[in-house]
Amino acid sequence: MDGTIDFTMGLSQGIAWPWPIAVYLFFAGISGGALATAIFVRFYKKQTVNTPFYKAAAVISFVTISLGMLCLVLDLTNPLFFWRILVYYNFTSVMSIGVIALTVYIPLTAIVALLALEEELRSIPALKVLLPIINKLKAVRKPIEVLVLVLALSVCAYTGFLISALIRFPIINTSVLPALFIASGISAGAASAKMLAVSLFKEDLHSQDMKLLHGAEWPIMFAEAMFIFMIVTSLMTGNAGAQSAFAAFHSGEWASVFWLGVIGIGFAGPLLLNFATSKSFSHSAKAFYASGVCAVTGMMCLRLFILYAGQNFAI
């Protein structure tokens, strides 16, 4: 009775999750990636002061996750229904579990930002009221940081689990997605925090922290490339549904987003800027910002590609 009956039309008319969700996945990834990297560096190097990188990561993680939430709310059919997700829970739903993680994570990023920006807040008289609160929070700083490190990585992974539950789409419904989103979240999060650390918090371009981060960049990028390669090969060699979705990599407008945006800008961009240019240029501020922007743009393209190409190539 092979293929005796089937239908191809649907009732939803268009894709369920458009670009604001891709932007949300992007912001959540940056937020989690930046904060996880900063706290990891702090623990690894046993830092006790608020380094420029830590400050930048704290600011970025709070701002991006807030913007991400805004995208999420605005994408609801009626943004005023948002309270329903916070009041009703369903523990078999990845989204519901994510909401619980985010309701803990977001206030904690705000607390980490307060702790990180203590000196800056001290210099603004209007914000003096916050200082007693900051002093109280200092006592629990270590446990908060441990918890937020776990949650930051969980939020990155959650964005992957969230969409990989959509079983109709072979590109999205893969087990590698959470890992890919952690890796790309860390690389783009660290890149954006580095840029803010140098530009706003006056970090030296060649400081110890920056050197450590530059060194970590390549293995993470390699992991990211491996995860993408795994998805591509599993689709190419998979069943009929997977094979039809493989077309997303060589036909249609999203194929160009993948090759130009993800591979060209996201991977080839930083590699060329760092290894194909003279040493004086690759160590300059220009190259630093350019490769940072490349990493962040590549990550955004990756989210857009996965979401749009994924939903366009349904079984």
Binding site: M1, T4, I5, D6, F7, T8, M9, G10, L11, S12, Q13, I15, A16, W17, D75, L76, T77, N78, F81, F82, R84, I85, V87, Y88, Y89, N90, T92, S93, V94, M95, S96, V99, I163, A165, L166, I167, R168, F169, Q311, A314, I315
Partner: protein
């Protein structure tokens, strides 16, 4: 002789397995009180007989009215797969004038026993009705996140722009079944192409029908165990 020996071994092995498995299964059986009560619950199914459907579309029209849907939105549509309608090309052979058998398929919520929409819904708005086991919506809980729409392997859910919440075909649970009536489409169909009933009741017409007819389910590979069954046209022409 040889047969007797192998039979003996087989019996011994069978008894051994029975003993071992009962040790494993028994505690499981005790814990799943829910499963036992399911036998007494109804399992509402709908059968779409493709051989009888003419594609008149009255099922869809009456559904839209019964369930008060806005223009352009439907809980069910008929996909024409082959056969000429005057003035348009046959979807199967591409000719405007052909001898292809006219073939339609009902596209609507498949009422899965293992429903992804119910699993992914963050608020429990997409849920299984306690009494009937039918997958339906609690409009007051839906946040409009559209997770259920993406998760549905059949693309059978949509947003009702008037209420801003997701909807699916729930066999007219709140518009007809609640009054003891059959779903509106089933009542409307003049060709008996739609049959509705409780598959857990061995005396129901639908149970008897499913016992004698070959019926298939759409995309069974997703493991969703749909409750909609299709009796397909198998022959491709004389």
């Amino acid at each position: 002789m040889e047969d007797a020996v192998s039979e003996n071994i087989e019996r011994r092995r069978f008894l051994k397995c029975l003993g071992a498995s009962s040790l494993i299964i028994a505690p499981l059986g005790c814990s799943s009180v829910k499963e036992e009560s399911d036998a007494n619950k109804p399992h509402y199914v709908m059968v779409f007989d493709q051989n009888k459907c003419t594609g008149c579309g009255e099922c869809k029209d009456v559904c839209n009215v019964t369930n008060n849907l806005p223009d352009g939105k439907s809980r069910l549509i008929m996909e024409q797969q082959s056969g000429g309608v005057v003035g348009s090309a046959c979807p199967h052979c591409g000719k405007t004038d052909c001898d292809c058998e006219r073939k339609y398929v009902r596209v609507s919520c498949q009422q899965c026993k293992n429903a992804p929409c119910v699993t992914v819904c963050p608020t429990g708005a997409a849920h299984r009705d306690e009494k009937t086991g039918i997958v339906t919506m609690d409009k007051a809980k839906c946040a409009g996140c559209k997770y259920c729409i993406g998760a549905c392997p059949y693309d059978a859910r949509f947003i009702n722009e008037e209420t801003d919440v997701a909807e699916n075909c729930d066999f007219c649970l709140n518009t007809k079944l609640v009054n003891g009536e059959l779903p509106a489409c089933v009542q409307q169909c003049r060709y008996d192409a739609l049959i509705f009933g409780d598959a857990n009741d061995p005396n129901s017409y639908v149970s008897k029908l499913l016992r004698v007819k070959d019926s298939v389910r759409i995309k069974p590979g997703f493991g969703t165990e749909p409750s909609l069954r299709y009796i397909p046209i198998v022959k491709l022409g004389v």
